[in-house]
Symmetry: C2
Subunit: 243 residues, 2 copies
C-alpha cells in the first residue's frame, strides 16, 4: 500500500487558484493489516450515524448514511486482505473547537492509521447566524493546532484533509462570500503545511453543476449532500487518496 499517489497531484483542484498545485505535499498512504481508518467532521460526515454502535468497526448503522458509508464499503470490498477497521465519529453541528474538545476520545484514542477530516461549514454558518464569533483566522489557527496535536500523538498517521464546500442554493446565499472562499483557502493552507492529502470537493461539485445539474441535486440546502452528493464525495475522495 506504500506507493506514490500521483492522483493527489492533480487533486489540488479548486485550491489551484490559492496555492501552486505542486505545493501540496503528497504523502504515502500507510495502511497495514488491521489498520484503523477514521472519518471525522460535522453533520456531513455524521450523516445520521447510530451512536449505540459507535464502538463497532465497520458496522453499517455506525457508518451513517453518507460518504463514510460508501467509502467503508468500497475500501472493505477492494482491500479485503487488509482487514481494515473503519469508524465514523462525525458529529452534527461541530466546528473546529468542538473537535478539539473531544479529540482524545474520538480520534487519538482510536489510533487511526488514516484520519480523514472535513470541518469548516459550521464555523462560518454559526457565525453568520450570530451563534458564534470565530473569524476565518480563528478557524485556520484552531485547525492548524488540532493537526499539530494530532501529528504529535500519532506521528505515523496518514492525514487526509477534505475541502469544505457549499452549493449555491438553499441556506447558502451571498452573505457567505467571499468569506467562505477565504476559509477554503485556509483549509488548503493547513493541508499543505501538514503534508496532508487534499480532497477537492468544492472543485468537483462546481464541475458537476457546470455540467448541467441544479446545485440542489447535490445538496438541497446547499450544505448537506443528497444521496447523489455523498456518492460523488466518495468518488472524489478515492481519486484523491488513491486507495
Amino acid at each position: 500500500m506504500n506507493r506514490r499517489h500521483l492522483l493527489s497531484l492533480t487533486a489540488a483542484g479548486s485550491a489551484a487558484t490559492l496555492l501552486p498545485r505542486s505545493a501540496l505535499a503528497v504523502p504515502d498512504v500507510k495502511l497495514e493489516k488491521g489498520s484503523t481508518i477514521l472519518f471525522q467532521g460535522d453533520s456531513i460526515t455524521d450523516a445520521s450515524r447510530d451512536r449505540k454502535t459507535e464502538g463497532s468497526a465497520n458496522n453499517p448503522a455506525m457508518l451513517g448514511r453518507g460518504y463514510p458509508f460508501h467509502l467503508a464499503g468500497q475500501l472493505l470490498a477492494d482491500h479485503a486482505s487488509l482487514g481494515l477497521n473503519i469508524f465514523n465519529r462525525g458529529i452534527s453541528g461541530n466546528k473546529v473547537p468542538d473537535l478539539d474538545a473531544r479529540w482524545q476520545q474520538d480520534c487519538l484514542g482510536l489510533k487511526p492509521a488514516l484520519l480523514s477530516i472535513l470541518i469548516g461549514v459550521n464555523d462560518i454558518w454559526h457565525k453568520l447566524s450570530g451563534k458564534y464569533d470565530g473569524t476565518p483566522e480563528i478557524y485556520r489557527d484552531g485547525f492548524s493546532a488540532l493537526i499539530k496535536r494530532t501529528k504529535e500523538a500519532l506521528p505515523d498517521v496518514t492525514l487526509v484533509i477534505c475541502e469544505p464546500f457549499v452549493l449555491r442554493c438553499g441556506a447558502v446565499n451571498d452573505t457567505w462570500f467571499p468569506e467562505f472562499e477565504t476559509r477554503r483557502s485556509f483549509a488548503a493552507d493547513v493541508a499543505k503545511a501538514a503534508g496532508a492529502i487534499w480532497v477537492p470537493f468544492q472543485e468537483k461539485f462546481d464541475e458537476a453543476v457546470k455540467a448541467g445539474t441544479e446545485p440542489a441535486y447535490w445538496a438541497g440546502d446547499g450544505v448537506h449532500p443528497s444521496q447523489a452528493g455523498h456518492a460523488l464525495m466518495a468518488k472524489v475522495w478515492r481519486e484523491a487518496v488513491g486507495i
Copy 2:
C-alpha cells in the same frame, strides 16, 4: 442509454455450468429522463430500510444500508442528467409468494423502467427450518409466473434478475446442498426465459473467498452481507447491468 451491454455477456458466470453462457439474452437497458429504478427482494435488499420514507425516491433512509444504497448513490451521481427516481421495496423474510402478494402495490404500481429482483434464500431457509413447504420447482414456477405477470403489466421494463447466493458459514451448513444449487439454476432458467440481465453474485462471492478471505468477512451468518459484502454486490451488479 440504449446500447448493447456486452458486460452482461460475460456476467452469466456461475450459471455457466448450468446453461450455455451465450444462452442468456442480453437486453438493452432502457432508461430515460425521470425513469424509476426499483430494487425488490428480501432482507438482503431491505437492509433495515426506513418504512416511513418509503414513498420518497432517492431518500437515504428509504434506501436501507445495503447494495441498493450503494447503487442508488453511484447511479444518481454518474447519471445526474437522467434525474432518476430510485426505490427500495425489499422486505425481510420474503419469499416468492410474498412478493406476489404485494406486487401490484410494491412493484407494478411504481411503473419501474428497470426492476432488479433478488429472491430465493428464504424459500429454502424457511423450508429447512420447517416453516414452509415450497419445493425448488414451486420456487421456479412461482418466480416464472411473477415475471410473466410483470412483463404483461410493464412490457418495456428492463429486468435484472440477481443470483441467490450464500456463503459457507454461520447458518449455512451442508443441509442446504445440493438443493440450494438447484434453486440457483432455476433462478438462472427464469432469467434466461425472460431475457433478463443476470447478476452472478454467487460466482463473485466464491471468487472473493478463493482469493483468501473468510466467508464470514462477506456475510457473518452466511446469508446477510456485511458492509464489505453489500459493496461487492453493488460492484458486481454494475458490471453485469453495465450502467
